[in-house]
Point group: D5
Chain length 149, copies 10
């Protein structure tokens, strides 16, 4: 009996390691970005029927699991509010150290409002660099203004 999406995420992770599947290959088969597809497999996005069935084939999932992939999950992928994993913590640190800066500069350019985390995309790329390669990430979010009413 599956009653939480986490159970399906566990099945995917288990199959991924057993069969040495790459997220980028999965993304290619689905025909979407590796960022969105990985997030979906990790239980952060809902898939449509066709996508879910492909994922089911790739990871050898039951029909019940495939049905769950089409359900909108309870989102949030971190076990604690301040993440302990060093890679993820660095992102938390960027938000903490640069948070007030990001706020000031977006408001200076756009006025009161936010950068959407829904109408949003992310692109992670390796940049070759002689002093050591870099991780370059482009975050793109629609500006949503507060309006008086």
């Amino acid at each position: 009996m599956i009653s939480h999406r986490q159970q399906v995420t566990d099945m995917i992770l288990s199959a991924k390691v057993l069969n040495n599947i790459q997220w980028s290959s999965v993304a290619q088969e689905i025909g979407l970005s590796k960022e969105w597809v990985t997030a979906a497999c990790l239980g952060q996005m809902a898939l449509n029927k066709e996508q879910a069935e492909k994922i089911g084939q790739i990871f050898n999932l039951s029909d019940e699991a495939v049905a769950w992939l089409q359900i909108v999950p309870y989102k949030g992928s971190l076990p604690t509010s301040v993440p302990t994993d060093p890679l993820i913590y660095r992102w938390y640190e960027v938000v903490n150290v640069y948070g007030s800066t990001i706020k000031e500069l977006i408001h200076e350019e756009f006025g009161d409002g936010i950068m959407s985390a829904i109408d949003f995309s992310m692109d992670i790329q390796r940049e070759s660099h002689e002093n050591g390669d870099r991780v370059n990430v482009v975050l793109s979010g629609k500006f949503l203004p507060y309006k008086s009413y």
Copy 2:
């Protein structure tokens, strides 16, 4: 008596509002990016002597305040571990929802290690878009590998 950098940040914020100073103008006068300069003014980076003196002139600060700008501050710009401000929260949400995805994809590309938050830069730009302008942010951090020893 100044005994915490926050006091200088308060002076800067007060002068900024009174005299309607723009962060982008400050950055231009310093000759560095608006992201780094704003973070420095908000107490997240240390300035060198020349930079501190220019900031002192722009915001009309005392010599004591200028001296404090050259001290490395205790960093972290948020009052709570989960930020309440909607603009900053969206960034926290991105880390929470996409955190496991970012981890998977960087490890798939680079192996075990992190994206540095120190050898790091950020660039925030407006992108015109017919459905509403977007905030585009490029984060660039050196990949730092864990090595066995």
Copy 3:
């Protein structure tokens, strides 16, 4: 020296009590809803120049305070993450008890996405009722869909 918007909110609250000013009257003078105007006076929204000057006259604020009213504030009006005040707690309780219900029903109707808290308005009205008057609140938020990319 004003270095935080909270100081201006304190001035407004002090003047409001001293002079027995009603939020609904303030809203009428500004020509906007009582919900938005009150939120703005309480440091949750930024005012434009004209609005800020009117607020300045109503609450007898200094020019510096009026300048601060036009700055986007760090939002979040509650002193603790779980509010202790009984009136506000009831709203937190509604989110806690009905949170999973709201999520299920919006997803059933709209698919994956959220109800915006930015492109959002609120209207609070008294409804006469023979068993005791009721507080009726209409919340209206644009549906923002997650999209695959």
Copy 4:
């Protein structure tokens, strides 16, 4: 052995996904609002015998599970005090940003007291809108005055 209502909620969620059941259909069969019926199925309300039996038929539950549906549950549907799911967080954000405003306006209209979360109903509707459909929610709660004694 069932010893917690959560076990029954899990059974309902599992059956719902397997058989692709809609909350609005369940509500129609019960003859009550979709908001109350969904909350009840998710373990936030107690059902009477007749309602529980109907729910038992719809979701194919055991007699023991049907008995548990008639027990008042320990309420609260969120795993953390600040919810991480973006849809539910937006509601938390509304309470945080507008909390002091809601308090001020209800007190201005009604005096000291609260808006009940018990003598309470909620109605969630789609509103068509040319700039994108909206989620409209009406919350109705009896005003309960504090009285001196």
Copy 5:
């Protein structure tokens, strides 16, 4: 400048100690219970004009302070969510140890609903007892049923 009710509570506490005023005497002058009057003086209830003026005379308060007594305060009188003071902690402990019991017994008697903390009164009395006097407290709250809708 008074901008928070806590400032008035501080004035009352200061005057109470300086002039050795008893809460029971204050209650007698106001003509209400010592429980409600003390709570009001401690910033947990709003007073009407007449009551506020009497309190103003007793504690020698300014007009501004008297005006604040008529404002509904942000309630909650404890500095931490788990109180450290031994007397108050014992009450928290009662809620913790007997919480599930109270819930079971009220539901067994009344069905689903709550005991109101708004339509509520409290009476604290000394009971003489040969093994040591006892504190007897009567809590009375209206039962508010959840109703399906």
Copy 6:
């Protein structure tokens, strides 16, 4: 293998729902108050041999479970330090809103000390009332004075 009292509480709760047992009937069979007996069944009090055996018969427990009923449990019946269940939260709210009042009035009457939560009893009764029945609760705790030494 039983290694925690919670396992026995789960057995009791399961049997109670299956066989529709009332706490007040259990109390009558034990010959003690419904408050103490319920608390004991919910894992907050230790039973003596005779009481445990009667409880074992009523709820059809194994000898091992009956042995565990006689062990002093680790007390505290709430899953979070601030309870989310509305009925229990109202009690937490009473402690929060009236905490400082309770402290002041007990000290005014008795001097420094506490109201015991150990030499303590509780009695919950329905009071008929024309405006809606009330829950009346009498708490009785021995006053324990601090003494200098």
Copy 7:
């Protein structure tokens, strides 16, 4: 204006350092144990009139401060729920590591109940020891049994 006992504690601490006063000397003048007297000076116990006046003379306090010493304070002397100071932390650690042991052994000897922290005394002594002197502390608390009712 004194409105919190902490202000008096601050005066005492300031005078103690300026005039190099020893807690043991203060205790001798009051004629009580150093443990109780120190706790009282640090804002954890209420003094009677005579004791307060002596403390007032020793630490050169105003009449207002002396009046406050006779008020029962809000107790709890630690700034965080887990203390950071190494000396105090060791005591917290003892409670954490030995907590379940203490519980088991007191229940084995006395049955269900607690060791009172109110009818309680503490005696701290230096014990000479060839491997380094030891701190010996005797805690004495009345056993208070839970009783069924």
Copy 8:
């Protein structure tokens, strides 16, 4: 498969209740204090081979479990940082209320340093008393001085 010491503690607790074993008897068989032996059985101390085998016989443990008794456990016996159990909480309260006093008096006698929680012993005894028996506990810890270097 045993992978955590807690599993062995659970086996010991289960056997203890089933066979009605007393900690003091266990201690006698081991030939050490009841305090240390109980702490060891509860997973807070490591046993040597001989001790572990005796414990294994007393509680009828497997060889694997006996092996685990000789592993140093991850210490800390409380499920929450502020304990909810009334008996253990009283000890937390003593640390909270008397914490600053203990610090002051140990420093006054010994200078800067701590009372060790490692080179430490505890002895819990019943003291007969006409007003009710008392729990007397002697804590003995080596004083460890901070030294400059």
Copy 9:
């Protein structure tokens, strides 16, 4: 089905105790430091294929478990943010007590930046000492400077 690295860590810990394996022997077989190898076995580092297979032989792991050893784990080895285990707490205490000192001295020597926890190694050694042997730990981390941009 293995879906989390913790399951493999549990297998390793279980085999280690059953077969009395020493970390230093494991390190010797792998040919790396005991610090890195232990951290890897405890789920804090990713192993390469060869290393994982050797670990698999030593601890008798399945192929699936060996595959998981090569996956980068979610790092962080402590169950609570403030560790309760006395040995680990002492390290937390060093960071708390000496944290500001470490910050000041590294900045004084190197300017703004950090000591890397990624390009990092640790060496733990016993130092014989007549007053009791000492644990000597060398931490070595690359200095990473913040740079303006």
Copy 10:
């Protein structure tokens, strides 16, 4: 009036920046390590009379401040339990990632016990390195064994 050591630390920090004083120079004048002296100046260690007077001269402190330097402070130099400053966080991360490793290896070498944080010293040095200089830190703490009793 000085009533907390933090006030003296603030005076020292203010004077340090104004007069551009180096911690290493202060240490040289005191004749002790820079680590201990800095910790003492930052309010984590108590100074003796001679040391305090020298510090008083260096930082131009009042006699009252010099007296406070000789008082044992309430230790702990971090504003939050998980530090936000990147440099200090890296140390917290080391404790988190390597915590279980440190525990395993010290126990493997020494048996049950801890590495003292009191009989402890720290030495921070720059190590030149062609790939970038390193921070080398030697931590030395006496091993303190748990003993059975």
